[in-house]
């Protein structure tokens, strides 16, 4: 392993219980600075629970977690300033315009008035949304919304961005354009932590972890995982690992 590798997230023995139910069962992993880290697992495997902890939205039951060098127990507010978050379910306000949404998020993340105006102009140009500036979000096609949601999630140049199923339901071309945005962000040095149900997207990640039943069942590069499980693609890897348990 490269000795220069710098970890941006470290998770040691993370446990999260809800009553008697163990959602995260002694998770151990590191995310390296600048990588695209895929976080996969069946429904109910414990992904969302772990992401909520990493984003500082929920405390672990036990374990040691650092995000961007900051402690998850004592420095939650600092963590929130250093991360971006986007989910498929919610990201933008439908009854605000494109520009109002950008301004709103930039404001929340503490950008100055001047930064907001340069950033939003840059962003709209990059996404080709200049003509749609005053359109309400609810009138903008889903594909555009998702690209915009991603862009506002990184408007404050965070160290890490968490993407929770960012491409659900979009057409195949938009899905690929979205991944180009992810690649660009990674190139600019932002670490990307992403979940998806599209197994071809797992192949775009530098490393992938697969959660099964609250535990990490595998963590490696896509090509190493395919070799280990003698699979021709990530879908087969996933089915081999996750199929063992199904009804539970």
């Amino acid at each position: 392993m490269d000795s220069m590798v710098e970890n941006i997230i470290t998770v040691k023995n993370l446990v999260k219980k809800f009553g008697h139910f163990v959602a995260n069962d002694h998770l151990n992993f590191e995310v390296r600075k600048g990588e695209i880290f895929g976080f996969l697992g069946a429904n109910g495997a414990g992904k969302t629970t772990a992401i909520r902890i990493l984003c500082g939205l929920s405390y672990p039951t036990s374990g040691e977690v650092k995000v961007g060098g900051l402690d998850i127990y004592s420095q939650r507010n600092d963590i929130k300033r250093n991360i971006g978050y986007m989910s498929q379910k919610f990201s933008l306000y439908d009854d605000l315009t494109v520009y109002e949404n950008i301004r709103f998020y930039a404001g929340i993340y503490g950008l100055s008035r001047k930064e907001i105006s340069t950033k939003s102009a840059m962003l709209m140009k990059k996404l080709g949304l200049e003509d749609a500036k005053d359109k309400l979000i609810k009138d903008v096609p889903l594909g555009w919304k998702q690209k915009l949601a991603f862009s506002v999630a990184i408007i404050h140049d965070p160290k890490i961005v968490f993407l929770d199923e960012p491409t659900g339901g979009v057409d195949p071309i938009t899905r690929r354009q979205f991944w180009n945005l992810i690649f660009e962000a990674a190139k600019d040095g932002i670490t990307v932590f992403v979940t998806t149900h599209y197994m071809d997207e797992a192949e775009y990640c530098d490393r992938v972890t697969i959660m099964v039943d609250g535990k990490i069942a595998a963590l490696d590069t896509p090509s190493a995982l395919k070799k280990t499980y003698s699979a021709s693609n990530m879908n087969d890897v996933f089915l081999k690992l996750a199929r063992v348990k199904t009804v539970a």
């Binding site: 109910g44 057409d171 149900h197 199904t246």
Partner: protein, 304 residues
Amino acid sequence: MENPSILVRNISRSYGTVKALDDISFEVPKGELFGFIGPDGAGKTTLFRILATLVLPDKGVASVEGLDVVKDFKKIRKILGYMPGRFSLYMDLSVEENLSFYATIFGTTIEQNYDLIKDIYCQIEPFKTRRAGNLSGGMKQKLALCCALIHKPAVIFLDEPTTGVDAVSRVEFWEMLRRLKESNITIMVSTPYMDEASLCDRVALIQDGRIMKISKPEEIIADYRFQLWAVRSGKSFELLKDLHKYPGVRSVQAFGQSAHIAFEKSILSMEDLHKYLIQTGHENIEIEEIQPNIEDCFMELMIQ
């Protein structure tokens, strides 16, 4: 087609200025597993709602089992199973309570039609006292399917039953649909996952309220008229960019660790492309001729 199970002729429906469906026509014979493949916003849900007699079309006619969706709506509702994308279960009722609620509404009991749902229900029966809200995504969908089937419908409509469901549960869900088909129920199902198209008897590819193509999945693939290569190198992101610049390439799309390039038949040589990629700094280059999949075909239809 004689006596189709589902008939849709020149159906249009708008919401304000948005055309959700634009002059759609198709027929589905009895017992077919028919797929609607398209992204969110393509018009799939509007079509389901019209056929389920919940929304009126602006134009056109449609019928289910010979019954008109406008005139005979009450009769249609009795013979129809509908699993909407968003809501179909009561989250604060248990698994068993949800199922008996749906059975009661349709004037039947779980016991009466148990045979039809047995295969599916036995997988969730161990959790029958659990609240639906506490089920995992895959199990919710299995329960919702049972609820849509409990009155032994002639036709079932499943609106995106596998969206947000993991890869394992998706495979299981489709195995169930194949088995269900044997009871001669007409199944119309929509999905944004292109790989699920190959599991249907026939599919309609839909985008922006229009049907781009209706065919058997294998015919859609046979109709693809370009040549397709899968190209790999160590640097995937740069590879996409460099392939875009290569003269004669019609489209470049990422597929996992490969890039698929499409071009007019026989205008490119693998040797030349290989040389070009070496010149642009790529290593470990692999190029192979491949057959298109449904996603290749869908994207080709989108850019036409």
